[in-house]
Symmetry: C2
Subunit: 432 residues, 2 copies
């Protein structure tokens, strides 16, 4: 499909961040042109190409085009657990409510639930997910059939899978299709034996690739790691060589000075998950310090079992709101930083540098923000307002890889939402 | 209009809180019936009335009816300041960016901006606003023309108005129409001289009515009050007799043991505004302690200048999320408590006990939550899920006083939203 968006405001997320007015042309999977609102022939001559034959021309009516959000940490199929067991202490919740069910979930369950999560991502303007869950094969199938970009990361731990399976997945799934990739990782220090961590490290060294894991999400996790190894999870991962080729951590709340040094030295990304960290009473990540040390921050929703929804707008507000609270400074963590985190930083962490900003040649992974909603008016500062006032209600259109998957509340992912809800409810019923 | 909702899930917010399935009948401004899904004739005989002639029958398709949210603290016309000056230190923001403009705003400006705020309230399922701003006469006009329920509270301070004007407004505006009322109040201790506070106290005693004001929003405010009077704002207000007939405070973050005692003794409501308190780095209110002491808590958005939007879903999540963080306990402040705060507690504080729950004889102030959105699926616990996963996107319909003002994204308030945006932008332009 060749699509021309015109009469648009555009936030390309290229630096310096500013809103322009103009057009955006999509040819197939990629952006052919983004820029000022000149006549078509003039634009065509400028980019040295003919005007494509348009399958569709979309009058944006002043609405805003921007890169889709990158949800840089999620367990998508955990939508099953949404509001299944809220307001419970963390440990009991995990051990009594979550783990027993996860032990019985099939690859088919995960497939159906992942498809349902796609609906929610699209309503929230998410165009790529950094997903860690049980059966990456069926997850990738689900995403691919829906047209959703995704990066799988291994959540290997003492309960599975075997390291050989992870390696096989890495080799097979990483290149499976243009929408999906696979990264090495582990669930967390506290769920992996030293023997297992050493095997993963050997694989990281063999393939010279980044490594991601839950890292320093709770005080207890860090305390117990110190008791076991005399050092923090970050220091342990680094000592084992897991961070030699970059990567990062999910949550990253309880870091010490040495940890910050390692993040800087290795170019690691701190993926923050503020809603989950509040709801599970884990804490608040030190966002301002990451920024002042030049450590990139990305944003994830975490799974809907803990947070309980896949809403990047809520996460964005929390990243800056909680930083302002923590720093006792209303000027802390500028909203524009938050927009970078939710788009370009997430893309970089996920290895998706081809869909980070709106520019010629990049994949057309974009969203349209409805400026005709009252929460966007009057128009004082559009970019900041997305962070401070934006909501899912403002997502008018979500396009991934050049295809419109969501528009005006309707989905085009090859599935009837009601059927996906029925299946999800049937799965929930089975585990009651 | 007589309207029959059927095929509905219903959360009446009567105790015990549970979701029923059934019908809800609206006759004129009030609820005629709410309950199980029996044949019409059977229901009619049960309530001892004939079946009304329906102007409209609405198939809810399993969507949820519940009382509208009560936004228990706002400065509605401050939508003008939305994202005008974010990420600035609080004091400079107020003194350089807000106060100078407010000094020049006309009653007509406030009228237009209040109308624009109504659009946003409706998208967020808010059916009544506890509003404090400059020109209550024009504010009430705006709300009344739109069909929005509102309670005005005086924000009197050293810069105006004269106490006689407040008394006149109290007498005239309080009974102006069935949608609007007016309460005595003051902006805050730090903006009122002792002489002024004493005059307000005399009026509270004269009319034996509740009193509301900003109270203990920042550490500085409380510290300076102690320096001036050797006591906290709560203690000062109580000493002056301002709290003799109840009322409450907005924000209520920095309270000491004596303050809690006064809140209990006087039956005061603590109105919490978590998003504003984060964004302006004010702090986190002690919600769990209010609950354990039996002090009612209500929820407000505050003005869009500070928070920056009128979104009760964001506030609800924050109330419990921040309490869990503060208490280091994932079981803290159950979501059902939050639903009470956002509905019945707000209504009680605002004197709107006739539109707190869905029950026969109550005003028909209600919303329909779209259960067919992915963030509501699978259906594990609807009531809790509204707090943890709900968003404005789920508000399918907002009815106030028996009239549907918002449905499927369309407004029916006698104004074209685009015209209101134009006016708001013109006002913003004038003050640039």
């Amino acid at each position: 499909m060749n699509i021309r968006f015109y009469n648009a405001r555009i936030l390309t997320m290229e630096e310096p961040i500013e809103v322009i007015t103009g057009q955006l042309w999509v040819e197939g999977e990629r952006i052919l042109y983004v820029g000022s609102d000149a006549p078509e022939a003039e634009i065509a001559s400028k980019i040295g190409q003919d005007v494509p034959v348009w399958d569709r021309e979309i009058d944006c009516e002043g609405n805003l085009l921007m890169p889709g959000f990158k949800d840089a940490h999620a367990h998508s199929a955990m939508v099953l657990f949404r509001s299944l067991a809220d307001d419970e202490p963390l440990q009991g919740w995990l051990e009594k409510r979550i783990f027993p069910v996860e032990g019985q979930m099939t690859g088919q369950d995960v497939y159906e639930l992942t498809k349902m999560s796609v609906l929610e991502y699209l309503t929230s303007g998410v165009t790529a997910v950094f997903d860690m869950y049980l059966t990456p094969e069926t997850i990738i199938d689900a995403y691919t059939e829906c047209g959703m970009r995704n990066v799988q990361v291994s959540g290997i731990n003492n309960f599975g899978p075997e390291p050989e399976v992870m390696e096989e997945r890495f080799l097979k799934l990483n290149a499976k299709n243009s929408l999906s990739s696979y990264m090495l990782g582990a669930h967390a220090e506290y769920t992996c034996s030293m023997e297992l961590l050493e095997k993963i490290a050997a694989m990281v060294q063999k393939y010279k690739v980044p490594f991601f894991a839950h890292n320093s999400e709770t005080e207890l996790e860090v305390k117990e790691c110190f008791e076991r190894y005399g050092m923090s999870p970050t220091q342990l991962f680094d000592k084992l060589g897991l961070y030699d080729f970059g990567g990062g951590g999910y949550h990253c709340i309880y870091l010490d000075d040495k940890d910050f040094e390692i993040f800087k030295k290795r170019g690691l990304t701190a993926v923050t998950n503020p809603a989950s960290n509040l709801k599970l009473a884990s804490g608040i990540a030190p966002i301002s310090r990451f920024l002042s040390e030049g450590i990139p921050v990305a944003i994830g929703t975490d799974g809907a079992g803990s947070n309980n929804c896949l809403d990047m707008f809520r996460e964005m507000f929390l990243v800056t709101g909680l930083a302002k609270y923590l720093d006792k400074d209303a000027a802390s963590v500028d909203a524009l930083e938050v927009l970078r985190m939710a788009t370009v930083n997430g893309a970089k962490a996920m290895g998706l540098t081809d869909c980070d900003v709106l520019a010629e040649g990049k994949y057309a992974d974009l969203i349209m923000i409805d400026m005709h909603q009252p929460n966007m008016q009057p128009i004082n500062n559009i970019a900041k307002n997305i962070v401070y006032s934006g909501s899912k209600q403002n997502v008018k259109l979500t396009m991934i890889n050049g295809k419109i998957l969501y528009e005006d509340g309707r989905f085009d992912i090859g599935e009837d939402p009601e059927e996906l809800y029925k299946k999800a409810n049937a799965i929930a019923e089975r585990f009651k």
